[in-house]
Amino acid sequence: MTLRLDKLGVVIAAIVAYAAFLAPFATFRANRIVPGQARSILEALPSMLGMLLLAIVTGAAIVALLRTPLLLRLIAGVVALVALSVLIGVAGGFLTPAGNTFARVSPASGFWLLIFAFTLLLADVLTRLNLSPRARVGVLVLAASAIAALLVSGRWDSLSILKEYAGRADSFWAEASKHVTLALGSLAGAVVVGIPLGILCHRVEKLRAGVLNVLNIIQTIPSIALFGLLIAPLGWVALHVPGAAAVGIRGIGTAPAFVALFLYSLLPVVANTVVGLAGVPRVANDAARGMGMTDRQRLFDVEFPLAFPVILTGIRIVLVQNIGLATIAALIGGGGFGVFVFQGVGQTAMDLVLLGALPTVALAFAAAIILDAVIEMTATKRRVETA
C-alpha cells in the first residue's frame, strides 16, 4: 500500500503542528484585565496529560494527513476535540494557584487553532458523508449535549469565561431570554406582515417594485443608525398614545430594537414570498383553475405549499441575521448578549466579550443547521409527493 497525502490533511496538519508546538495553549493572568503570560501545552498541563494531549493531536493530524477511511477520520476528529475540550478545563485548574480567586486562565491562540483544525476535519468528513437532514440535526443535538454536559459537570469552571459567567449567572439568562425574544419575536412579526405583503406584491404587479425598493433601502441603513432613529418616534408614541407606555413601548430599550429588527426582517420574507410564488409552475395553476378552484383555494392548496420551501429560505436568512443583529440592541439599552460584548469591549475584558459572542454564534449556527434541515425536508417531501 502506498501512502498518499490528503490535500486538506496537509493544511490541517500544518495548522496542528504550528498550534501544538509553537503557539500558546493557555494564557495565565494574575487578574482579569492585566496582559497575560503564554503557556504551552506542556507547561499548562501535568506532564503526563500534556504528553498524552500532544500524542493525541499528533496522531489525529497524521490520520488527517494520509488518505484514510472516513470512519477513522471521524473518530480521530472527535477524539481530538473531546481531549482538547476536557484538558483545557484541566489546564485551568492546574495553572490557577490554590485558593487564588483573582487569577484567570483562558484558552489561547494554540487552543483555538487546534479546535479550528479538527472542526475543519470533522466538517470535511460530515460534508463527504452527505448526511440526511435528520442525521445533521442529530449530530447538532449530540454536539450540543456534549458541550452542555461539560458545562454542567463543572470541568470548565476554572476557565476565565465561566468565572465571568459565575459573577453574572442571573443577568446572563435574563439577557439570553431577551436576545431570543427579540430575534424570534421580530421574526414572527415579519412573517405575519411579510407573507401577506408578499402575496399582495405577487398579485398586484404595480406594488411590487415600489415595496421591494423601499425595503431594499431600509436594509442599507446601518443597524446602529436605524436603532437610534427609532428612539424619537417611539418616544413620541409612548408620550402621546394612551396605553402605549403601559405595554412597554418606550424611546429606548426593547421597543426600538424590536421595530428595527422587524424592518430588517421584512425584505427577505417579502422578496422570497414573491420569488416563491412566481416560481410556481404555470401548469399547476392552470390545472387548479381547470378543476374549478377559487382564488383562495388555489392560494392555500396549490401556490402556497409549492412556494413554501423558498419562503422558508427567507425565514432562515432572517433568523440567522436577527440573532446576529440583536447583539447591537445592547447599544440602545435593548438587552441581549450584546450587553456582555460591549461591556467587555469597554473594560477590555475579552473573556466577557466571549461570554456574549460565543452564545450568539452558537445560537445562529444551530438555527442555520436546523432550518436548513427543515428546508431540505419540505423540499424533498414535495418532490416525493409530486413524483
Binding site: 486538506l8 466538517a123 436594509q219 443597524s223 446602529i224 437610534g228 428612539i231 447599544l331 459572542a357
Partner: protein, 249 residues
Amino acid sequence: MKAWLPALLRLAVLLLLAVFITSPNWFEPLLKPLTENGAPAIYNQGSLLTLTLQHLRIVLMATVAATIVAVALAILVTRPAGAEFLPLSRSLVNIGQTFPPVAVLALAVPAVGFGEKPTLIALFLYGLLPIFENALTALTNLPGNVMEAARGAGMTGWQRLMKVELPLSAPVILGGIRLSVVISLATATIGSTVAAKTLGEVIIAGLISNNLAFVLQGGLIVAALAVLIYDGLSAIERYAARRMGQRTE
C-alpha cells in the same frame, strides 16, 4: 415613471450628500429642532468630510483585499487540483455566514488591539463570503458549450480562465462585491465601538449624549453612501452583463 427620473433623483442625493459633508453648518437650522438643551446640531468633534473619507477608505481597503482573496480561492477550488476542497469550502461559507459581524469585530480585538485593525479584519472576513459564494456559483455554472468550444479551440487552462471563465463570471462576481460593500459600509459603523474612525463615531456620540441630530446625520450619510454605491455597482454589473451578451432582469 419616466426613465430619467431615477437618475435625476440619484444625482440630487449625490449633490446633497456632497454639500452636506463639506459644509454641514448650512443645515444647522434643519437639524436644530432635534436637539435638546442647546446641544450642538452638527457633529463638532471632528470633520464629517474626514470621517466620511476614512469610512470609505476602510471599506475600500477591506473590499479590495476580500475580492482578491475570495476570487483567488474560488478559482483554486474550481480547478482540478483544488476540486477536493470544493464541498468543504461550500460548507465553510455556509458556516461563516452565521457569524454575526459584531462578534467577528469583538473577537478580533484581543488579537490585534483597538482601532482600525480589528475593523479592517472584520470587514475583510465578512466581505469574503458573498464574493466567494458568487464567484463559486459563477465559475461552476458556466455554459458547457462555451467551455467545450474554448477547449476545442486549443486554449490552455490559463487562457480559458483569463479569456473565457473570468469575463463570463464577471457580472455575478460584481454582484457579490456589491453585496459585500453594502454590508461593509454598515458594519464599519459598528467599528466605532472598538475605536475605529468611521461615521459610526457620529452615531454613537449621538446615542451616548442622547442627541438625535447626530444619530440622524451619521445614519443618513451612511445610508446615502450605501444607496449610491449600490446603484453605481448595479449599473456596472448591468454593463458587464450586456458586454457578455447576457440578459438581466
